[in-house]
Symmetry: C2
Subunit: 419 residues, 2 copies
């Protein structure tokens, strides 16, 4: 066993030991720790900025892109937001110990299902120091140990944040190993981590498709992930035109770089001639480039044609593929073929079609008459979001605190025997 | 790509296509199909026995053990039980389409979670033809396509059963590929199947620890499993002695060869001298051999000493390891160290200790004052059991029809936009 794999295993073993204790720490203690962490993060703002400056300096030398530098950089405002995030998690209900249902068997046994933590969660993410505090808070609140492995470009920032959080744990007599940041920037440390199925219960990668594919390929541990969000809005023949325009604009352009932004617009043939020119004018104003199917090009002459590959594309940009479909059947077929099981919305005044779309489209979030941008843990009322899953096992769609738990069966008897 | 891998991929692709249709088939159609399957299985009893005789003959030549031959053999009675099982599944509630909860957001969005099928499920099992019908029925009812891969010793029986089920699907215009038995007995077919993560959503192995470990090691697809059940009963100082004896006997000996039978008995030191001799006399009568810790040997002189390895052992036989513990803390520590996260029970009249045991022991089923033998889908009221999971992702403990589904978010709006 190499020195590196020994070090990584030590981290994982300590996390598992901590998890056994953490599972039974009272909600009140966890909440006090989270609030104290917020205070300490704020108090240590200048130290954090100093550590972060080392990362930013190195990143500039390495030639990181502007967007990446932006996400890497900490300042008073972003540090204040990190602290606020910690307090928000303290205010969320604790899922651990909730009995989600209980029933009585004919023999008198009372059978229930109680939420318990998953155990140890590994988070693999890019160079975004705020994820360090955010993920640590959600795991702590749900009673899970966390192993944090952020992008190497943020190593000084991440270790500084983790150090502050750990100091609070220590003072509150919560095992320090409940929150650990991997100090080794070597990529091999990730591979080692992903082998440790005996100690780690779940891996959540947060980042681009490439990061996620790498993690999935290497991991022996279950991974909850979504590769991409090719989200659709289907404007039905009976749509309210104003609503359809508002939802299309919001879904595409309110924040185009995120996974729940619309990437393909499907338009019923009966409404296309009335709808598309008005929409195109609006999109033109805000700089959204359209790529249309053949029938769309007949209505909107000035736009680029969409190729087959466009239907699979997650642009994450001010670009939109537009296709005219014969009917709702063809819309659903298109989504089944090209979609990513992320988020789809129908805009319609037709009750039957809304009902059908909601029931038949098996993406992780399906909406009627609302923007795809609502597919988000906070927006759905989960209180938080640790990630979005587009695989059906364990969790499907935005994941909050509950999705960081499982349920055990609890059974109260008075001497029942099986016959 | 080899011919074998091409064949296996064809099976998986057809299963996925069938799943898309099966997800939306009405409950009533699925129930009629299940009842018709039961009828056809009964009608074809003599054909099934003839096919099964081929398997049994080959198995005898191969020298299969008596227990294995017993599970392989079909007769009028076992075929009748298969048919009854199909009817029972028809009578269970359909989980698909259930909205498990729904809430209103401040902006008026109605957000709910709706159960949908997982998609395609692969079942890998030993030479037990009844599993073919049983698993197919549970998957059909929950809207999932199933790929059945039973032990090669049962190939003729399995194909005959699957053929009957498929004929019913065909006549009812349900895609035949919703139920497929793998016709290739080559072991390599399993390896090929376990690679097809693009088409298969979940693998459930049913069988001994060796089979399960092989599947887990080969699989790229999520596997729900339990390796073994090292179940404990802890007899507390305050236990009702009669109840403790009855529960111990039931948990150990009512059916010793199953995973929810007790394998280790933990006894509080204060009650050991009163309890153990009475229990030993009872166990002696029915032929249960005890293996005791040092302190147990002081009370029960005639028994074998337990070695360290005994605490990890799943005997599946009339053997029991017995340890005297200082208190509930030591009992819980023992379970944490040696247990398999399967099923544990405390026998006590002490409210505080029952409360603590139920809350602190994080095995998949935890009982107070009842036999471990209740850890079973039917006994817990799930209506059915497709397997037991001792891993925490997706499902933990006995799995019924609901555990063969996931939930999608459904959202009803009236033009909401994200700001």
């Amino acid at each position: 066993m190499s020195e590196l794999s020994r070090q990584v295993m030590t981290i994982a073993k300590k996390a598992k030991e901590a998890a056994a204790i953490l599972a039974h720490i009272p909600t009140e203690t966890k909440n006090r720790a989270l609030k104290e962490m917020a205070l300490q993060i704020e108090n240590r703002t200048s130290d954090l900025i100093r550590e972060n400056e080392k990362d930013v300096k190195d990143a500039k030398i390495k030639g990181l892109s502007g967007a990446m530098l932006d996400r890497l950089t900490l300042n008073e405002k972003t540090i204040n937001e990190i602290a606020k995030g910690l307090i928000e998690v303290a205010q969320l209900p604790d899922p651990v110990g909730n009995v989600t249902s209980m029933w009585k068997r004919p023999n008198g046994l009372m059978v229930g299902k109680m939420r318990i933590p998953l155990g140890v969660i590994g988070i693999i993410y890019e160079a975004r120091p705020n994820v360090t505090a955010d993920a640590a808070a959600l795991c702590l609140k749900s009673g899970n140990s966390v192993i944090l492995r952020g992008g190497s470009e943020a190593i000084n920032s991440n270790l500084a944040i983790a150090h502050i959080l750990q100091n609070v744990l220590k003072r509150m007599e919560i095992p320090e190993a409940a929150i650990q940041a991997v100090p080794m920037t070597d990529r091999a440390a990730v591979s080692e981590l992903l082998k440790l199925e005996e100690y780690i219960d779940l891996i959540i990668p947060r980042g681009g498709e490439e990061l996620i594919r790498t993690v999935v390929n290497l991991s022996k541990i279950p991974v909850i992930k979504h590769y991409k969000g090719v989200c659709h809005v289907f404007v039905d023949a009976d749509a309210d035109l104003e609503m359809a325009i508002d939802i299309s604009l919001n879904a595409k352009a309110q924040r185009p770089g995120v996974c729940n932004a619309m990437e393909t617009l499907l338009v019923h043939q009966d409404i296309a001639a009335a709808f598309l020119p008005r929409l195109a004018a609006k999109f033109n104003e805000i700089g959204v480039a359209l790529r249309g199917c053949e029938r769309t090009l007949e209505i909107l002459s000035g736009i680029e044609p969409a190729r087959e590959s466009d239907w699979y594309e997650e642009y994450l940009d001010l670009i939109l593929a537009v296709r005219i479909v014969d009917d709702i059947d063809q819309a659903i077929e298109h989504i089944e073929k090209y979609g990513s099981l992320h988020t789809e919305s129908i805009v319609t005044r037709n009750y039957k079609n809304a009902h059908r779309f909601i029931n038949e489209v098996n993406s992780s979030t399906v909406l009627a008459n609302a923007s795809t941008r609502f597919s988000d843990g906070f927006q759905l009322g989960l209180g938080a979001e640790i990630g979005i899953s587009t695989t059906k096992l364990h969790a499907f769609g935005p994941m909050g605190l509950e999705e960081l738990t499982t349920t055990k069966f609890i059974i109260y008897g008075n001497g029942q025997l099986r016959t």
